[in-house]
Point group: C2
Chain length 492, copies 2
């Protein structure tokens, strides 16, 4: 038992290195001492509003300094943050808040329209806007000085083949091991500074916050990705590491033109799906050190990363599993694949989620004997380098966001004039992939693409909207009537 | 449960970075791939000799490349290494081997005289000399591909107030957390290289082996500490970090004269008892970056270390507890001390031993509610920096070796002419401290110091021998007849 407890990470960091810079946001600079003091005050306010240890608290916030202090205030109180994607529709948010049994929702003023819809549909939910939060007199907060590594820290939703999103449990231990696993791979140096222009509501962004505290490293937080601001801040703030997805890196490479990143910049940590080879080659030409990686919400960020010494020889590989993690390729007959043979990527390690919130069945299906079945296809070469051939056949990755065809199909099938629907992804120069839909109309209806688009817009985040609707007589299904999405892709 | 397993660390490291240099020893250089292959072969030989998972195996070896491969071979097999101090007498070794129920003893040829005595006194013990080991045909070893963090990795003996040494359990998790805790404090950079001139049979040396594998960092292994060889290798092998005790650092400072260590050298990790302030000041003058630390066998190496940014302002402090660890000062009434108030140092963390082998009573006495009661006295300043005032009153630290007065007293009392005996430490310029003994003779005997010295030499490691024997009429004891060792010190 003693091995499972640890000091609260923000308290500990503020004790260890109070005067080091923790965060640059716009024109503000906070030390770890400042960050602790601010988060402590917010925790007193959240407690005054009724938030307590163990509760699930929805968080619908943009990249902002306030978001950071709110997220750490929740850690100080021992409350669990259900971190909501800002781009979801009210209907999608309602599902996640209900599913996680959240009793509070902290949100930006700008989401007040959404707030009205949500509160109408959930009875036992207290909403807290950022303004309301600042108006409350803080109580003396009851702080969790110690954390248990098996305690739930955050919940982030992902979908899957079943359609309904599932809440991925991320424990303090998951975040800790992810953070130290990354440190052992990338090294940690005194001058490190990590630029976060990815959303804090994704594991890619949240994990940067955790690393900042665990390493004692400053981060530069951007509200959103702006390529010129990025290039400027890399120079100005002496950024050494940045997390990117393919579209961001493409923009950086293009915007740089004849310029170069400073020599002290040591890592573009590239996640969010396989990167096109030409992009990687362009980066080599411009001396941009790219570390390809592979990971997902269930692995609390990267679980496989390409090491410095291998980044050139193994271009296109995602690398090797981080120190505490294991990986194997499983064939359909359940055996482990030999080198070169593609199969399902299965992973294991202390950074891997213990399961899905309130979904024991889904947990048992995806995690067997401690191994997470990712559904992704890949192979290992002779030296143990992973090559990801294809994310799970049904997953579409668009600008770093995951889109699940089953979720879109369920929405489309809810339209009264739709008899059958199938969704797949197609290549897109800017976003990597975008979804398109194949529709079988009910007889004697005159359903249009415009109507379907309008229908989807009410129910789906914008980035999930199908870019085209194709009408057809029949969908490709196998004998068991299972939709063959790979066939759909061939149709396009 | 899944959080507690991890790949075998040597297998994993050999997979991650096979071609990085792992170890320099004399004129040999091994990569991690080489080290794995060598250790694998040794594990096949050890298995052929009968060593199996879970067994306790005594190891009586000097600092040598073979020792490294033997220690990792034991990890590969899942056997537990009972790591024996080379300087112990046969009688002391017999005690530790019996106490740990070791069934094998691997030892250097040079210890064959000791071997004869040991095998005479322990029936169920197979001894394996290094020569014997090389002559055996290796079997196909049954390798532990995964380790459990709660499994026992090593046993190292320490004594205490009770006299008999106790086997400190060090789990894989203890070593892992110690290693990552240190990494988060010191940082890890690609060019790091750690010089090990401290004994591998101490936690100070063994922990360097573990860091090498976990960080993927080369080490330079010396058979013993040689000040000129040290200065030479720091230059030649581009050493960046070295573990030292006070006497070693004193010699380095003196030997350097007008020379300087290279600028890339970044850390003298100083352990093994409080360092004298003049030494620290001399290091500042010579630009030697000293990181004072505090730790013990029970904490699997340092648990408190002074961070880079504080090393000058807080000269003489041991620093702050490493990230995963906690520390408080407990007063005699059981309350936590305020800043500035001295009391017993109690520590907690995943690097702290789960207890003593086969000694539940001693474990319960020393570890309460997950907190280890060190017996050492210290205080925290306002910023949380630890100042160690005094190691537990009965502990003598001589050149980095721990000497326990109770153990020496038990030996002295075994002499037929000794009625009472008390041991304490006195200051020594070279070794920090050395033990001296106070003796009450039995009536009508003419016991001499020479006779006692002869008597002790047969039974005690050389470094433990009292440097002087003082004869007296009576020892200072309190009402409960407890020996007041602090009084003894005043007598000297």
């Amino acid at each position: 038992m003693q091995n499972e407890s640890m000091p609260n990470i923000l308290i500990k960091r503020a004790l260890l290195t109070p005067n080091r810079i923790a965060i640059y946001f716009q024109d503000q600079t906070l030390t770890f001492h400042d960050l602790y003091e601010c988060s402590l005050k917010v925790s007193g306010r959240l407690q005054a509003l009724g938030i307590r240890k163990g509760q699930f608290v929805g968080v619908l916030l943009k990249n902002h300094l306030d978001t950071v202090t709110i997220l750490f205030a929740l850690q100080l109180l021992g409350a669990r943050a259900v971190i909501l994607n800002n781009r979801l529709t009210a209907a999608e948010l309602v599902f996640q808040l209900k599913d996680s049994r959240s009793t509070f929702l902290i949100l930006e003023e700008s989401f007040t329209q959404t707030e009205a819809v949500i509160t109408e549909q959930i009875d036992q939910l207290t909403t807290i806007t950022k303004t309301k939060l600042t108006q409350i007199n803080p109580e003396e907060p009851y702080i969790q000085e110690e954390i248990s590594l098996t305690d739930i820290c955050t919940i982030m939703y992902t979908s899957g083949t079943t359609g309904n999103p599932k809440g991925v449990i991320q424990t303090y231990g998951n975040h800790w091991w992810s953070s130290t696993g990354s440190a052992l791979n990338l090294g940690t140096i005194d001058s490190d500074c990590w630029l976060c222009a990815v959303p804090l509501f994704h594991i890619s962004g949240y994990s940067i916050l955790m690393r900042s505290i665990i390493y004692g490293m400053p981060i530069v937080l951007h509200e959103h990705f702006d390529v010129e601001q990025t290039i400027k801040d890399i120079q100005l703030k002496k950024v050494t590491i940045m997390s990117v997805v393919g579209t961001m890196l493409t923009q950086i490479v293009e915007a740089l033109e004849d310029r170069r990143l400073p020599a002290s910049f040591r890592c573009m940590l590239l996640g969010g799906g396989p990167a096109p080879l030409p992009l990687l080659e362009a980066c080599v030409k411009k001396d941009i050190p790219v570390f390809q990686s592979y990971g997902m919400t269930e692995t609390s960020s990267q679980i496989v990363t390409l090491s410095p010494e291998d980044s050139l020889q193994k271009l296109g590989s995602a690398g090797k599993p981080l120190f505490p993690s294991q990986l194997r390729i499983e064939l359909e007959n359940g055996e482990s694949a030999q080198a070169g043979m593609p199969g399902e990527i299965v992973v294991k390690g202390p950074n891997v989620t213990p399961g899905y919130l309130n979904r024991s069945e889904a947990t048992e299906e995806k995690i067997r004997d401690g191994w997470l079945y990712t559904g992704d296809i890949g192979y290992l070469d002779e030296q143990g380098f992973l090559y990801v051939k294809d994310r799970r056949s049904d997953l579409i990755i668009s600008g770093g966001e995951n889109i699940y065809p089953a979720e879109l199909e369920a929405i489309l099938l809810a339209h009264p004039d739709v008899m059958d629907a199938g969704v797949t992804g197609i290549e897109d120069k800017k976003w990597g992939q975008v979804p398109v839909a194949f529709i079988v109309k009910k007889k004697d209806t005159n359903l249009s693409g415009e109507e379907l688009q309008r229908f989807c817009m009410e129910r789906l985040a914008k980035y999930k909207l199908p870019k085209a609707f194709y009408f057809t007589e029949q969908l490709p299904r196998n004998a068991a009537k299972k939709l063959l999405r790979r066939k759909l892709r061939e149709w396009v």
